[in-house]
């Protein structure tokens, strides 16, 4: 098509346009037209097919005064293009300062919203406790607790395994093989067990809470509940807070046991610490204090995760991308909060000498 293109030819200072000036050809025609000079008139009578793309090309390439010829189709398309052409409105760009202030404003609004959510839900929990559905609560324990056992088990087992594996080399250098028990069991029970569970639950439950409540918001189910005088907070938020409050410590106990078991296997394989020996020392090293200090984080993490997950769900707007945006936010926020709260716990424990 390169040499023998059939879109125009020069005859006696008149450029004869012909062929199909349609969308699939305009890119090629435009390129070819650049090399074409020395014409005084442009005749469009021979054009076979034309669409708005061809019309726009003619409109942009040639002066209106040099156009001539008779072709109803071309004339009507040219008229259409001329009548409907307009200039692109400029995009209003926000200044850096404005964008920063918007960002700050959003952040502050976020916290205000969360406080508002806390207050509102507390009031509704108390005043409309009759809307509480035991069924939702039980189902949530099933979904978020029993459903999470598999992944919590596998991940804590692997973490226990990895910790023991990494420390084994160091401890062997000093002949301190038996201290692997202290290292694995205390670190898992006090810190890693609760943290792993909280991060997994943040990913599983917070996102699911946000998505399910968000979809209800989009489909106006929340508004429907509101108009019926049923408290969406008591119905949807309270069961979820309670279920995570109960489920989290149980999952942490499970994670502790499986994690230590993982460490025990590696200790036996690499450091020759026997299983009985491991259990014997672990039972002496692990005080009830350190065990409880880990477990007690569970309910706190659970309540925070449930609050963040549900509050983000209530923030969803009637846009398709809104659910995705808030699900991401709820997961990021709950993981962030869990780690910050864990750090606060460490400071408090240190201070209380636990």
């Amino acid at each position: 098509m390169d040499q023998n293109h059939n879109f125009f030819e020069l005859q006696d200072k008149t450029l004869l346009l012909k062929g199909n000036w349609t969308v699939e050809n305009v890119g090629f025609i435009k390129k070819k037209l650049k090399s074409c000079v020395g014409f005084e008139r442009v005749d469009f009578s021979l054009i076979n097919e034309i669409d708005t793309f061809g019309g726009l090309l003619i409109h942009n390439s040639f002066d209106k005064n040099i156009l001539c010829g008779s072709n109803n189709k071309v004339e009507s398309v040219l008229e259409l293009v001329e009548n409907h052409l307009s200039t692109l409105p400029p995009l209003k760009k926000k200044s850096l300062l404005l964008r920063f202030s918007n960002y700050l404003e959003n952040k502050i609004q976020d916290y205000v919203y969360f406080l508002n959510f806390l207050g509102k839900s507390t009031i509704e929990f108390i005043s409309k406790i009759s809307d509480f559905e035991f069924g939702i609560f039980v189902k949530d324990i099933q979904n978020m607790g029993v459903g999470a056992i598999g992944i919590v088990g596998v991940l804590s087992f692997l973490i226990g395994l990895v910790i023991a594996y990494q420390s084994a080399a160091q401890l062997r250098q000093f002949g301190a093989n038996i201290f692997i028990v202290d290292l694995v069991s205390i670190s898992i029970v006090r810190e890693l067990g609760p943290l792993i569970v909280a991060i997994i639950v943040s990913g599983r439950s917070a996102s699911s809470y946000t998505a399910s409540i968000g979809l209800m918001k989009v489909q106006e189910e929340i508004d429907t509940l509101d108009t019926m005088g049923i408290s969406a907070y008591t119905l949807l938020v309270l069961p979820r807070i309670l279920s995570l409050f109960i489920v989290m410590p149980l999952l942490i106990v499970f994670a502790d046991i499986v994690g230590i078991f993982g460490g025990m296997i590696i200790s036996n394989l690499i450091l020759n610490v026997g299983y009985l020996e491991f259990i014997d020392r672990a039972s002496r090293v692990l005080t009830i204090k350190s065990f409880l200090s880990g477990i007690i984080k569970g309910p706190v993490f659970g309540v925070v995760i449930a609050l963040i997950g549900t509050s983000e769900g209530f923030k969803v707007e009637k846009k398709t991308e809104s659910i995705g945006f808030h699900v991401t936010k709820s997961v990021v926020k709950s993981i962030f909060s869990v780690i910050v709260i864990d750090a606060i716990f460490s400071v408090v424990y240190r201070w209380l000498k636990i």
């Binding site: 969308v23 305009v26 435009k30 726009l56 090309l57 259409l80 293009v81 052409l85 692109l88 995009l91």
Partner: protein, 256 residues
């Protein structure tokens, strides 16, 4: 005078698993006409549309669009055929992450190798053609009203000058004034661009802009002709439609 046929459907049979939707369905769509398709809920209007726009493959029979049989096309042929059609879905289905103008530019640039500024100019032209103000170019779909969304979707459907335009419930959810305005826009576009329009609708008043009306009932097309011959239809669904208050009022209105 024999009119050119742009879509020819013969002996179409389609089904979802065991549920037969169409059986022995025949339909011709002429070049440059507006064809409205009506039918009860669940009668298979949307299925027929999906088959015509290559989203669903029919079980038996043939659908010939602009001389090309839609069955057994390879990827390239399918793409070429898709370039000839524009579709506006019921929910407008604009890409939410792009502004209205970008929605149109995206469609143009994805299909053809066209310069940025030409695509932008074209996008502005299509926005104006669909009856919108140029200021919507940078607006996001979430910032538009229902009627504007539909028009923006129309502008996007027109992006690459399709030969055939499919509209699924174009005026559902619009107020009567916007709906009327939308109908007029479609009529104007057909005159200006010479395209063929296939419109699925529940809105009886929209039938007034259609050149012909096709009725789907009992898994097939029971009527396909101009609106004034609609009394002659023997089908039960059609009889019921025009015996109820809405139908009667429409018929009385359209006659005057």
């Amino acid at each position: 005078m024999a009119k050119d046929i742009i879509i020819k459907i013969r002996n179409l049979k389609s089904s979802y698993k065991d549920l037969v939707i169409h059986e022995n369905l025949n339909l011709d769509v002429y070049k440059g006409e507006i064809l409205a398709i009506i039918g009860g809920s669940g009668s298979g209007k949307t299925t027929l549309l999906k088959e015509m726009i290559l989203l669903k493959e029919q079980k038996e029979g043939s659908i010939i669009i602009d001389g090309i049989d839609t069955k057994h096309l390879n990827f390239k042929q399918k793409q070429a055929l898709k370039n000839k059609i524009g579709v506006m879905f019921q929910s407008a289905a604009l890409f939410n992450s792009l502004s209205v103008g970008e929605n149109i530019v995206y469609v143009i640039k994805k299909r053809y190798n066209i310069d940025d500024d030409v695509a932008k100019n074209m996008s502005m032209l299509k926005i104006k053609l669909a009856g919108l103000d140029e200021s919507v170019y940078w607006l996001y779909p979430s910032e538009l009203s229902g009627g504007m969304k539909k028009k923006a979707a129309l502008a996007r459907a027109l992006a690459v000058d399709p030969k055939i335009l499919f509209l699924d419930e174009p005026v559902s959810g619009l107020d009567p004034i916007s709906a009327d305005e939308f109908d007029k826009t479609i009529k104007k576009l057909v005159e200006l661009l010479g395209i063929s329009v296939i419109m699925i609708t529940h809105d009886l008043s929209s039938l007034l802009i259609a050149d012909r009306v096709a009725i789907i009932s009992n898994k097939t097309i029971v009527f396909c002709d101009t609106l004034d011959k609609i009394y002659t239809v023997k089908d039960n669904w059609v009889k019921e439609l025009f015996s109820i208050e809405r139908g009667k009022r429409f018929l009385n209105g359209s006659k005057t």
